[in-house]
Symmetry: D2
Subunit: 336 residues, 4 copies
């Protein structure tokens, strides 16, 4: 961390600042210029509140040199985190595909889709029980009953299940859920993150619509700081000025997050595109760029889906896509 | 709502669509072109799920003509909503100033600030007890104890209090709070909004960092649809590419939200600017543009504030600003 | 196009509007609701100025159903445009790689790089002569002399050359240039676009930093409307809130632009990433998503490049990447 | 400027870097930590190319402490720049209003509007001759003839004229134009800026749709570095996710640019809002926030304007607004 002081800083205040920093185990190096003095802070600055320093009267600006996240930081954990759920392996060079409908609608629907995606090669089942919808008048999900139906499908197929939590009060219902998803709109619901950090389940953490890599990793840090190291990062498209696609898939998130962090990163091409026929090219792009997995919406009858049918693949299209992903992954692995 | 059909739509599917719409009380007008057929939907379309129609095979596109919010819509409630809290009146042409520290830190601090801002003309006291912070290592607020201190300050000064809720589980602690604030990061925490709709307290709803007016009003609609009509909209700056200021105050939100909705709109210049010396010009701008109120951070000792000291006014600066606001408001009222 | 009228529109004004539209060959279908009347406009509406209609007193809103671009629209030109330059073929399922340094610096540099990238499989040579730089104090390119050096390299290697024009006044210097590039900051320099529409050279048109697909295609339309059909679209990253990468590559632009338009689309991973080690994963993603080509920065000595060395590949890295691209392209073609 | 070195930097390369910097008159202060060495650069770093340093092998990151603009920087020119055009005074605490139609359409129109806005208190006349339009099929302005009509209006009323240049090739036609406007889309047309820096006319420089304050000031720096100190900055709304208004007026640009620079700053509420009835509240906000002036679209017959009629005020509305601005400005001046 670097602290840039104003011209002619008050000696007493400067003394207060340097003493306070030294008490926190930071050593200091001073560069004095004609108009500016710069303090170089050396040591573990991740727990120093940058805002506290910025607001001091003698300080002009503060700049971070190190990232403010620690548990999620690859610098301190060079090896990839690998998460095991049922037969699925997430991270470390594998390609895991999570598939299923946007919303759980009925026992028949979820079991039909679960069997089909399993046959095509998916190793986890997704399905929405609690649905965050912009309008209070839109379908809000089957809620607790949806989770029961997912568990039925798990019993039938053996696929571990992934589903979204929207509020802490729902946590008891997630006892038998294998992976808990935190949606984009909840990425900075810090009370929820803290509590999920106290569970021992893998958390699929979706990046918010207008959030940066660092903010995503700080949210992962909330979970990890509470003791849960099993965080799966998920890029699902960000908001940009382009409205032709529902969101804009930030494909660079793959190499970038892999550089910054040791956590696995999966891609959600369905929400990113919002258009079913773009799901295949975006999935292919994600595999080629080195993603650890994909989470794809598949429905037995997209035109009659209760939500997001627009972006759901048919079971046939998904099967075809899985074959292409297999070919592509092999080609990529052959020329690393 | 307008539905644009694909060329040569399947007759049976078209029949299904039109029957379904008519059953919901919608009447239809058809325009047939050479390449396109357009259905005009007439009636109350606010409760029709636009996505359900979009995903039908025969549909090319759907466009809304009416807004999807109803309770918050000025078209159906032409008169301004006016909210009374203690002696404060929010909405309907008045100018209400809410002031107080970013965080409640101690009894002495909150009472000192409360007395001072009351003397300067503020009619509500703000203060953060639960603090949403990007880093798990930053100060998270005094939480329940913070609310107790706010209630002390209320007892001392008579000022009603405004403070932020971060999670449903905290709701019991808000029994004696006068106005409950929903922060920008929780604007689309739909479970929270629904529950707040069941209280009978005014809700101060902050616009999310990357959300549109319509999304803000849909969140207000969540609260109102659950039975609570007392929603105060708050513009607190949006995220843009400009990073010199903490956020970018969208001043047009004032006339725009007043056109779209009957709800009062207040401005938070402190979070918008993030820099204390910009709070005065932004406050002046808000008054001149017709805001119903301001929410301003004031601290007895900004350089030692535990958070956001950078953007807090001193009590003296706030007093000076209140005098300017008074002159300005009078000038604006004189030339309407 | 759909025109939504205000309640009780003035009869005479409505008559004026409908007569004016009919005179332009548009036929009209009217849907009358209780509160709203909707006009459906059928015919070629691409040349109707939407703003002119919007501002009429009796009009509440106007919505486009068809795209406002025509020459660039796949609906009217279903077959892919294929552009031939030297031995390179751009569009129609091929994969063309354009490579070379950010800036032309010396005869030795450009010839060394040209020979090397040719050997690795590039079929066009890029190199900046006129350089748009944010600061007036930064290196502005060798300008006219840079173009001469590019022509030397072309003579040596046979590679056709691509270089950027910054202003109309430079056009004479581009006589022997094979493909003229329009930079992101000039995407809406309409006078330049019109003039380039009068040349008979392929134009590489880069998407602006904050522009939509439709705006990009309208800029292509400017060139095409002036008579030049040879436009190559280029996605080079857009500005988002993420600053870790220089820009954010919008990978969905590939399937989206291929749906909307028949023009070839190439990807610039170097400017998108701004970081050399991300160029390979982004290139792989672009190939997998179906791009028609890549434009990649390669330098013989990146640490001493006069600009953008940060994002340039070494000649060795580029050679290695070309081998991977070859494997990937073959795998993709095998499973279409 | 601060240079952060990688761990264990190569001694020879480090020596090269420090020698090179010292040769440019920079003195260096070194802070050595366990894992990091930081160089503090002291002296005039505005002309040092930050990218050149960033790409060196031994460098991890470079951070600017000082702004990269110099001529436009208030630090080096503490006093406000004041620009005189005819009877108008722009900057230094005055409030100048520039008014006129979006496009010049006819002699009668421009003279009618000019007389009216002069009577209401405007001191400069605006009017578009060259019009940047997204579609090649939209009205492109009267071009050279438009400038002739503006000069007629100037002769009639004595009002100096402001009009936009779109390309260098048009410069000869601007001989008698008083203030040359550079549009938002040309803010980074560097060749144009350089050439305008060689004229001796005031330049009204509009901020680009997605550009930062620093980029705007760097574009001003291009003009000033070529010798023309008379630059007027103009905020005209930026692109955000909100589409209800045409653009989003960044009202904070007023105090921010006044802090960073000594150049005058004026506001264009017409383009920012895109809706006529929002022009008055945004103008009031701009005055209250301390703008040096306004540029407002006024038309004698907005519903029949050839472009942007939607956002133009009638002459009566403008007259009414000027009266309110006068009252407001007086109130603001009275309580500074």
């Amino acid at each position: 961390m670097i602290v840039i002081l104003k011209e002619n800083p008050d000696e007493k205040q400067l003394n207060n600042l340097t003493t306070w920093l030294k008490n926190q185990g930071i050593s200091l190096h001073t560069s004095k210029g004609l108009h500016q003095t710069i303090l170089g802070l050396v040591g573990d600055t991740s727990k120093i509140d940058i805002d506290l320093i910025k607001q001091m009267e003698i300080v002009e600006d503060v700049k971070r040199v190190q990232e403010p996240f620690k548990n999620a930081n690859r610098k301190f954990h060079p090896l990839d985190t690998v998460i095991h759920v049922g037969n699925a392996v997430i991270g470390g060079g594998s390609m895991t595909v999570i598939a299923g409908p946007c919303s759980v609608e009925s026992e028949e629907q979820i079991i039909t889709v679960a069997r089909s995606v399993k046959k095509s090669g998916a190793t986890l089942l997704r399905g929405g029980a609690f649905k965050p919808r912009t309008s209070p008048y839109a379908f809000q999900g089957l809620r607790g009953d949806g989770i029961k139906l997912l568990l039925e499908a798990k019993k039938e197929t053996g696929l571990p299940i992934v589903t979204e939590i929207m509020d802490l009060s729902q946590l008891d219902l997630f006892d038998e859920v294998d992976v808990i998803q935190v949606g984009a709109r909840n990425m900075q619901n810090f009370e929820l993150l803290k509590q999920l950090g106290r569970t021992r389940k893998p958390i699929l953490l979706k990046r918010g619509l207008a959030n940066t890599y660092q903010e995503l990793l700080m949210s992962a840090e909330y979970i990890m700081a509470s003791g849960n190291e099993q965080v799966i990062l998920c890029e699902r498209g960000i908001r940009t000025f382009e409205t032709y696609t529902r969101n804009t898939l930030d494909i660079s998130a793959i190499p970038a997050l892999k550089t910054l962090s040791h956590l696995p990163i999966i891609i959600d091409p369905s929400h990113a595109a919002g258009i079913a026929r773009f799901v295949a090219p975006l999935s292919m792009a994600a595999v080629a760029a080195g993603a650890d997995g994909l989470i794809i919406e598949v429905h037995n009858d997209p035109p009659h889906a209760l939500c997001d049918g627009l972006q759901s693949l048919t079971m046939e299209d998904f099967d075809h896509l899985m074959k292409k992903i297999h070919v592509l992954k092999e080609a990529c692995d052959s020329c690393k």
